[in-house]
């Protein structure tokens, strides 16, 4: 069974690009357009990792992660925060301090590097190339 990843972004093309790349890398990718639908997805199909945007209508990414950290079942979930804002977020002191983010990736980003980062976070030893990854999973 492929490891599941959820991507949450209000920009559908970002969700699509990430889905394409990660599906190719052997992941089972689910997309959500806002924090609320993402939360429902998280509860229904707990993933191995979440990639979420920061700026979204309704709840923002940080609020979503806070909610995740307060949930018993999801508290330890690795999260990558994807954002078009970079240094400004750091300036908003404290907002991200206790969120225990696995990584922060600034837009525009490279899907290739994102896959490599997910590998690193999930502790996969294999080279982040599609073929190797597929093999490692078929062997499981």
């Amino acid at each position: 069974m492929s490891p599941r990843i959820i991507v949450c972004d209000d920009e559908p093309h970002i969700v699509r690009a990430i889905s394409l790349k990660f599906a190719r890398a052997g992941f089972d990718v689910h997309g959500a357009a806002d924090a609320e639908s993402c939360w429902e997805l998280l509860k229904k199909h707990p993933p191995a990792l979440l990639i979420t945007d920061y700026t979204m209508p309704g709840q923002n990414g940080a609020q979503l992660v806070r909610r995740i950290r307060e949930d018993q079942a999801l508290a330890e979930l690795p999260v990558i925060l994807l954002t078009a804002r970079g240094f400004e977020l750091v300036e908003q002191s404290g907002e991200l301090d206790d969120l225990n983010l696995s990584a922060m990736v600034t837009k525009p980003f490279s899907p290739r590097e994102l896959v490599a980062k997910v590998y690193e976070i999930l502790g996969y030893e294999a080279e982040p190339s599609t073929a190797t990854f597929r093999d490692s999973f078929t062997s499981v």
Partner: protein, 515 residues
């Protein structure tokens, strides 16, 4: 109203009591004249013992020599001599007093003063010395009084000048006592204390952060005798940011004689900086959103991650669209800065307002169709003549119509109305969209401002309405207003002067906006 520089609560350099009175100059008339001679009082003590002694001598001589007539004769002779001497002395004394009292007689022959001559010489010398000293002092005093008068006038003028300064100014003396404040400072104290009844010194005590700055600068070395700080003061419930500059004031000997404090309200600067930062942030966000998709899709295509040729083409098309979107965004930014900085030359011409309105509707029509929004054309049947820059005014209308489409939910309605009213052409863009909250209304046309509640509904940089307002008011001598109700919609109304101007861009009003 100028604050009295001679603050009743203050003491020190500007205290009225420390200045000399303006009247009461010392004059020569103040020297008391020497009283006229009273020889009776002067000579009586001399005469009486002489007469008594003479009479005793006559009685003793008569008794001893039994010659009363000779004794009486001798006594009479002596008495006559004595009286003559007395009369002489009285004359000399009167002459001496006259000489003393009348300076013009001092130069004449003093022989008439007889035995008083040497005494008088000494007295005249002393008197003249005394008179000279008096005269010098009087002159000195007059000079000081004139100088004090001059200084007081200067101080008044300075105080009046400081009252014209926009910034609150405070002066403290060496003992940290508030000795001067200009009228702005006075208003500030009233605003901080919430009353105009409190004495200035007590009100000053409430400016804790300013006082701390004064203490800090007072304890500094001469090399760093100035200190600037940003601080916040609560004025009538509102927290106002001030830049405060405190500087040591020195006396002639180089000792710290006081401290001056100048405050500057920097609310606008702070807001402007925050707005610029917000602008940079929102521009970068707007630029990064399309860039992100472009970068991600490009990489996928390069890595051959997309197998389906139709999907590949779709991604390429999307990249193309995003490049267009980025170009538009950058163009908008450039347009705004070029219009505002006057780089774009304004070329006004005679035209029909309806023509521009129609054109702008055409430009936005496809966006409206995508959202299934109906355009209702309520353009006037009349020809509405106006003198406009077609491009710029068209851009303003396009911005309004496109905003109406952007902030109206799918299936909504946008009405464009034109009409003639008095000497003006009125263009109205009305939608039944999400509307604008009342608290956002005053800032709606500010550069970079976006209605927080509506900003997520559509992309934007907060420049559109600012540009509209600039084009309408600064370039076309018109005005713009807006009415709105949340969830009901908004109506933007532009008013511009009616009429053609044949002289075209040579017209002064047209030239005015062409910088």
């Amino acid at each position: 109203m100028a604050t009295d520089i001679f603050d009743s609560s203050a003491s020190g350099a500007f205290d009225r009591s420390s200045l000399p009175p303006e009247t009461g100059a010392l004059t020569e008339s103040a020297i008391p004249p020497i009283p006229p001679a009273h020889s009776g009082t002067l000579l009586l003590p001399l005469c009486l013992p002489s007469i008594a002694f003479g009479m005793v001598a006559v009685v003793v001589g008569t008794w001893m020599f039994h010659a009363p007539s000779a004794s009486l004769l001798t006594f009479a002779g002596c008495l006559t001599g004595l009286l003559t001497t007395i009369a002489l002395f009285r004359r000399q004394e009167a002459a001496a007093i006259a000489v003393l009292n009348r300076p013009e007689m001092r130069g004449v022959n003093l022989d008439v003063t007889g035995v008083f001559r040497s005494l008088l010489g000494e007295l005249i010398h002393k008197t003249e010395l005394h008179e000279k000293q008096c005269h010098d002092l009087t002159e000195q005093r007059a000079r000081l009084e004139a100088r004090a008068h001059l200084l007081k006038n200067q101080v008044r003028r300075l105080a009046h000048t400081l009252d014209q300064v926009e910034q609150p100014v405070f002066l403290l003396d060496g003992g940290n006592t508030l000795i001067f404040r200009n009228s702005r400072a006075n208003s500030l104290l009233n605003a901080v204390t919430g009353t105009d009844q409190m004495p200035a010194a007590a009100a000053w005590e409430q400016l804790g952060s300013v006082k701390a700055l004064v203490d800090a600068v007072r304890n500094r070395s001469a090399a760093a005798d100035k200190r600037t700080d940003e601080l916040e003061l609560k004025c009538q419930g509102e927290l106002i940011t001030y830049r405060a500059e405190a500087a040591n004031l020195y006396d002639d000997e180089g000792r710290v004689a006081g401290v001056s404090v100048v405050l500057q309200d920097i609310r606008e600067q702070v807001q402007e900086t925050a707005k610029q930062a917000q602008f940079v942030s929102s521009v970068s966000h707007e630029l990064k959103t399309p860039l992100s998709s472009i970068r991600a899709y490009t990489e996928l295509l390069m890595d051959d991650d997309v197998d389906d040729p139709a999907e590949r083409l779709e991604l390429l098309k999307f990249i193309d669209e995003q490049v267009d979107r980025l170009t538009r965004l950058v163009n908008n930014l450039l347009n705004f800065s070029r219009v505002e900085s006057g780089v774009i030359k304004v070329q006004r011409e005679d035209t029909d307002v309806n023509r521009i309105a129609r054109k702008s509707m055409e430009v936005v029509a496809s966006a409206a169709r995508q959202k299934n929004i109906t355009f209702v054309d309520e353009l006037s049947d009349l020809y509405l003549p106006a003198h406009l820059d077609l491009d710029l005014f068209g851009q303003a209308l396009i911005n309004l119509v496109s905003n109406a489409v952007k902030y109206t939910p799918d299936g909504g309605e946008v009405r464009i109305r034109t009409r003639m009213q008095d000497t003006e052409a009125v263009i109205e863009v009305q939608d039944n969209g999400m509307g604008i909250p009342a608290d956002a209304m005053p800032r709606l046309f500010e550069r970079f401002y976006r209605v927080p509640q509506n900003s997520k509904a559509a992309a934007g940089t907060g420049l559109g309405l600012a540009l509209v307002k600039y084009i309408v008011t600064n370039i076309h001598d018109g005005s713009i207003s807006v009415t709105s109700q949340v969830d009901r919609g908004s109506t933007f109304s532009i008013r511009i002067p009616l009429g053609h101007r044949d002289r075209g861009s040579r017209n002064p009003s047209s030239q005015k906006s062409t910088r």
